[in-house]
């Protein structure tokens, strides 16, 4: 018996690593190697159209970023985009989750509807909102005119600020469901006794929300904040289709700039440097995320 008990953990160890080997090989080959290689490329002058001019230039690409107007502008646009999208998403998702947490007729239907934007590919989301925001024939113009809110059709996407805000709105629609589901799951874990107790204490709805709901929702809210920050920071599909980064560079986020640099100008060196900045920022955020999961004990194995 004693021998068996001693032997089993060892066997488990070997078996576990063998079971993980296929996934680990795939990830090492297709994620770890590329990401290391991309760092190597970011240290080069490397343009696909000028293969002979390829050379190692150390951190020159990164140094160039500091005075690169396109990059600095894109960084600013991305940061603003994160703030606007995140703010709207959290507020709307919280309200929708609170609604879905109640019992009422049609709740199931509303929950199904909430999955619709989640299932929609970002590209389709972009072209859908393009037809809606269109200056000459768009549904938004039509609706607002018929409601008497505007007198004539507006070109929503031609001003920089307008394009930015409407792109953010389109992005929010697409990412909302994910936050709703996480928050809803959080809400459903709140013991109803707490509400009963608060009601007995004659706490109003607002008080109940602040004193019972919010503290319980802190953890899911943090998860939503972190994951949606990451999402908004990398947002690409919807923006690419809706505005293509324009007008000017009003909606050119860092991800968009990177793709343009690589795809249009085939500047792989600079593009990799951009990508590494994005990676560094994302990794910082995700370290926070994983730390959070760890502390909350969601991470036990």
């Amino acid at each position: 018996m004693a021998v068996l008990a001693e032997r089993r953990p060892l066997g488990d160890n070997a078996k576990a690593w063998a079971l993980n080997a296929p996934a680990m090989i795939v990830i090492a080959l297709l994620v770890a190697y590329p990401i290391a290689y991309s760092f190597w490329v970011s240290l080069q002058k490397n343009n696909l159209k000028r293969p002979r001019a390829k050379e190692f230039i150390g951190f020159a690409n990164y140094q160039a970023l500091l005075s690169d107007h396109a990059f600095l502008s894109a960084l600013k646009v991305s940061a603003l985009f994160v703030v606007v999208v995140l703010g709207l998403t959290v507020v709307l998702a919280l309200i929708l989750a609170l609604v879905l947490n109640e019992q009422f007729r049609g709740r199931g239907l509303l929950l199904s509807l909430a999955l619709l934007p989640w299932a929609m590919p970002g590209v389709v989301n972009g072209l859908m909102w393009r037809t809606i925001f269109d200056a000459k024939t768009g549904a938004l113009n039509g609706l607002l005119t018929q409601l008497g809110l505007i007198d004539e059709y507006h070109a929503w996407l031609t001003s920089g600020t307008g394009a930015f805000l409407f792109t953010a709105l389109a992005q929010v629609w697409n990412t909302l469901p994910f936050s709703v589901i996480i928050l809803l799951a959080g809400l459903s874990t709140i013991p109803s006794e707490l509400y009963d107790a608060a009601t007995v204490d004659r706490a109003g709805a607002v008080q109940r929300f602040v004193q019972v709901t919010l503290p319980w929702l802190l953890h899911p809210l943090l998860i939503v904040l972190i994951l949606e920050t990451m999402n908004a920071f990398r947002a690409f599909d919807t923006i690419y289709v809706l505005t293509g980064g324009g007008p000017g560079d009003a909606t050119t986020t860092i991800a968009l700039l990177d793709v343009q640099t690589v795809l249009t100008f085939t500047d792989f060196g600079l593009g990799s440097a951009y990508a590494w900045v994005i990676t560094a920022i994302t990794l910082l955020i995700s370290v926070g995320y994983i730390g959070l999961l760890y502390r909350k004990g969601n991470f036990e194995v």
Binding site: P9, D12, A16, W17, L19, N20, A23, I27, L30, V31, P34, I35, Y37, S38, L96, V99, E102, F104, L110, L111, S112, L113, L115, P117, P121, G122, V123, V124, G126, L127, M128, W129, R130, T131, I132, T137, G142, T145, W173, F178, I181, A205, L227, M230, N231, R234, F236, D237, V241, G244, A255, V259, L263, F268, A275, I278, T279, T282, S286, F299
Partner: protein
């Protein structure tokens, strides 16, 4: 018996109910109207779709936009002819790529997830964290090396390049979802099988996996949707109708200046239908998986 009529002492306006229903209706409209608009447009003639004021309901419903993907008429060939021609191929490509990704993922993830749910081993926490961390790596950071790698192996514009990249995207999520589902499978089942002297593979295949089937399906659906919706890698890695996926072709419609809105809307609707149907069919499992893993990044 006299009818018992409950007379409230004081009539109170049910504010909570009113607010709840107003919000519910507002959200329902917000969620469904944008999508309704492209669905409605996809059944309109172009003239009706771009009319001012807009027609909210197709006045002369037509299937010409959808049929155009098979046999484009002259007007359709003139505007956005290439994208129209590529649409049916891209749907086929997306279907093949997404299905293959789902299957490959399931195989790789099942092994890994089983180890996390059943075996105690050194480094398991670190490994699980590493899987999660790879999910956090932005696609844009690996796209250049990935492109060069695929070019070296002559895999540009092939299914394989897409399947491999999407597998790396979906694998961490799939492992996380499956490990949670696997934990809920009672251990006694496997122990009983072991008593019956079933080998490990036999136990897995005929006892464990059938019980874990719902989790496997949910994980497969996740992987399918990830692959179906992905755009950036497809944009880099594909160039012809041999491998272009539906998001790439749909984006072509949008970036083409003289595209007909109705055709664009129809392509959009076609691109949404498969993931939407899956999401609705597996609603409960997906919601569970999403909430449990919180890992769709």
């Amino acid at each position: 018996m006299s009818t018992l009529v409950k007379v409230p002492l004081r009539y109170r306006i049910p504010w909570k109910k009113i607010v709840l229903y107003v919000l519910a209706v507002a959200f329902a409209l917000y969620l469904v109207l944008p999508f309704y608009w492209i669905v409605a447009m996809s059944f309109m003639h172009e003239v009706d779709a771009i009319s001012v004021p807009p027609h909210w309901i197709p006045v002369h419903p037509t299937l010409e936009n959808y049929l155009g993907f098979l046999h484009p008429n002259e007007a359709q060939q003139l505007v956005g002819g290439r994208a129209i021609d590529e649409t049916p191929y891209s749907l086929r490509n997306s279907l093949i790529v997404a299905t293959s990704t789902a299957i490959l993922n399931l195989v790789l993830a099942t092994f890994a997830a089983y180890s996390f749910s059943r075996l105690k081993f050194r480094g398991s926490q670190v490994l699980l964290m590493l899987y999660l961390l790879t999910r956090m790596v932005p696609g844009i950071a690996i796209i250049i090396p990935f492109y060069l790698l695929m070019r070296t192996f002559g895999l540009l514009d092939t299914y394989l390049a897409l399947i491999l990249s999407y597998t790396t995207f979906a694998l961490p999520i799939t492992i996380w979802i499956l490990k949670d589902f696997f934990r809920s499978v009672p251990r006694e089942l496997e122990e009983a099988a072991r008593v019956d002297r079933c080998g490990w593979f036999r136990t897995m295949w005929s006892v464990f996996l059938p019980v874990a089937a719902p989790g496997l399906v949910a994980a497969a659906v996740f992987a399918f949707m990830t692959a179906w919706n992905e755009f950036m890698f497809a944009l880099f890695l594909t160039s012809t109708k041999a491998a272009k996926t539906i998001p790439v072709v749909a984006a072509n419609f949008a970036t083409d200046f003289n595209t007909q809105f109705t055709v664009m809307a129809s392509a959009g609707v076609l691109a949404v239908v498969p993931p939407l149907v899956l999401a609705l069919l597996f609603q409960r499992k997906l919601v569970q998986g999403m909430a449990a893993g919180s890992v769709k990044g």
